[in-house]
Symmetry: C2
């Protein structure tokens, strides 16, 4: 089965929203072994949506249309699909009741507009999952199929995972399974990794069972992706396992995790396994580090608290007004974090300071039992990059300290 | 001039990278008054890149192809364009020298592969800006034009701004300027806004000078976008100004800002204008609120600090172990924030608590001089949504308190 994605919305073409939905859907299709050769963005224009839809149906078996199912006048995906199917829209009374009930439950008046969301192309099914008021659609056109899902990411994801992918899998006679595994690394740049893996990549190019790609991903580190195709999941897992072992032997402790691991989840797990608690003081990163740590369930057992001192007097009080240099200040902040929150481990990111080369310098430090380390790094002036780079670099250094043979 | 964008790269289809380049180019084209009706993502496959390119040339005057100009074997954009032009690739000696020199300057050996980047379709021009080793291309095909730019965002941006847009403007006989203004709102849903603006939208549909669209954007609030086309910037500004006034009269204090304003920048500006400082305690939002506040330059004058208590004992200490309920606890946290950091205004988000309906409840509060308010809200279990919704809701309520006629 070949499946295309069409993202609908003038705001996507104008760049007012980045189309992350298509990327996410592409990822799901790939891991389900479904080929996807084209993704198109088109504005809220009936003629052009219809043109894109007809073309996608010409060259693929299935199309996922994302967006344009809302209640307002520029939401025309329903109308266009009915037109391409050559049928009328039918107002479904069960959906009308459901939409009215949803507004009543929230104690809000229902704008009449919202009833447009109860209109369904004749012959189409609706998608049961309805976190919002816009139902998704499953629309057969000859032996092909069009799925329509809302542009709201959480609703789109629920419908794609719950209905669209299972339906596509059922339609697919194919037995091949494509899958990837990502090794998460930190400590070397992309070309450094390529050099370490050059021989292995040549071997794989000459008839290997897997392919390798690199991907720089900011605070997610540098990803090394292994991709393979196999007859079934068991064979796929075996190929990915074997290749992971080969690459780990070459990359050593540059690898901090796999797939959905993040540097933050890895650190929380390492600390939890050792029964250690953590406290944070962050200045330059302004809450970024804690925001990333606290999305993981393990944070509540490990993280005792974070202090973000913005006021200069407060920074001086915590870091010592007479600190020798930025590194010394960061070290005192890490100690202050540990002591103030009564934690075992303290980490700190100091303030952003101007550096000689026109960029900035940020100091960071960790304190674990009797061990401590402080250092600083020079960065270009770019808030997001400073946050990402400082955060992952600090946690990675703490990881190397906590991993065996360290014990405490 | 109509211009399409084709983003080339299998990693884009597989969702391993989000295609932010097309969005950025779309934004630049829009503000240059150049229509762009389709954007396509296609993999590193010669047949399918050629198909996309031919189709784009069929329905538009110009195409920007982004990506696939690198030195590796899967970078085939050059070859495909030569093929569609019906010409050969010519190795340009001046480019060979330039690429060799670039490697020498960096003291690195040049892989022979890199010389592929000196190949240019016969009859094409190269783009002078070359931050990397891949030159951009300007390729005439009949009376139409194809631009090829690298996928590396910084190189792509330099070439688009420096060469592609000026060239497109020069080709365009059109004098029209398209522009948008976004009103940022919070407090009503999309359909609620549509109802408030229904009459105005009908008026505009019947021959108005602007169009209106809605856009739900999480922590960015609900955007109302006004788009207009005019002969020049002055006329455009006048149309947008007039329409903004009409919509503001209908929306009242739902509007918290325009364009690049965020709820956080608005709050910081309001506090700064009143000489007030702010302190934050956030539990449920885990640093999210401070991370968003601290990207704005004004934060250093306004925000004294943030405390993120994760440990339950610490929450009890701050919120009062015998607090009457979640709202009472949030109020005490807001007071604790204000008092601990010596600030004028304290805001707080309490812990995530399970709620009767299967979701969660989060309490929040603000304290400003003698005034204080605490309330709670029920939300589905979704970390990101809890953070976004709670953050913008709390700050919006503080905004309504701080805006005139309040004075302190």
């Amino acid at each position: 089965v070949r499946c295309e994605v069409i993202a609908v919305g003038t705001e996507l073409l104008l760049g007012q929203i980045v189309d992350t939905n298509s990327s996410w859907i592409g990822e799901q299709l790939a891991s389900a072994g479904i080929d996807s050769h084209f993704q198109t963005k088109v504005g809220d224009n009936a003629t052009r949506i219809a043109e894109s839809l007809r073309q996608a149906l010409d060259r693929s078996d299935a199309v996922i249309v994302c967006g344009g199912l809302g209640p307002t006048h520029d939401d025309i995906t329903r109308d266009v699909i009915a037109n391409v199917m050559g049928v009328e829209l039918v107002r479904r009374e069960d959906l009308v009741l459901k939409i009215r009930a949803m507004f009543e439950a929230r104690g809000r008046d229902m704008p009449e507009n919202n009833l447009r969301q109860a209109d369904v192309p004749d012959g189409a099914d609706t998608i049961a999952q309805q976190p919002g008021t816009a139902p998704g659609l499953v629309c057969p056109i000859g032996d092909k199929i069009v799925y329509a899902v809302p542009g709201v990411p959480s609703e789109m994801r629920e419908m794609v995972l719950g209905t669209v992918l299972p339906d596509l899998r059922a339609r697919s006679g194919e037995v091949a399974t494509i899958g990837s595994r990502v090794l998460r690394t930190w400590g070397r740049g992309e070309s450094g990794l390529a050099e370490l893996l050059a021989d292995r990549i040549s071997e794989l190019d000459n008839g290997g069972k897997a392919t390798i790609a690199f991907l720089a991903s900011g605070a997610e580190g540098l990803k090394v992706r292994i991709t393979a195709k196999a007859r079934d999941q068991a064979e796929l897992d075996a190929v990915l396992d074997a290749e992971e072992q080969v690459l780990r032997a070459l990359l050593g402790d540059l690898v901090f995790g796999t797939d959905d691991d993040t540097m933050e989840s890895v650190i929380l797990d390492l600390l939890a396994a050792r029964g250690l608690t953590l406290a944070v003081i962050e200045v330059a990163t302004g809450g970024y580090l804690t925001t990333r740590l606290s999305v993981h369930a393990a944070f509540s057992d490990v993280l005792r608290g974070t202090l973000i001192p913005c006021d200069e007097d407060l920074v001086d009080e915590l870091a010592g007004a007479r600190r020798a240099d930025a590194e010394d200040g960061a070290l005192r902040l890490a100690e202050a974090a540990r002591d103030r929150f009564g934690a075992d481990v303290g980490i700190a990111v100091g303030p952003v300071l101007p550096s000689a080369g026109g960029g900035v310098t940020v100091a960071m430090a960790w304190v674990v039992a009797e061990e401590a380390k402080a250092w600083s790094t020079s960065l270009p002036i770019d808030v997001e990059r400073i946050r990402q780079y400082t955060g992952i670099t600090l946690l990675n250094d703490l990881r190397l300290q906590l991993e065996p043979p360290f014990c405490c």
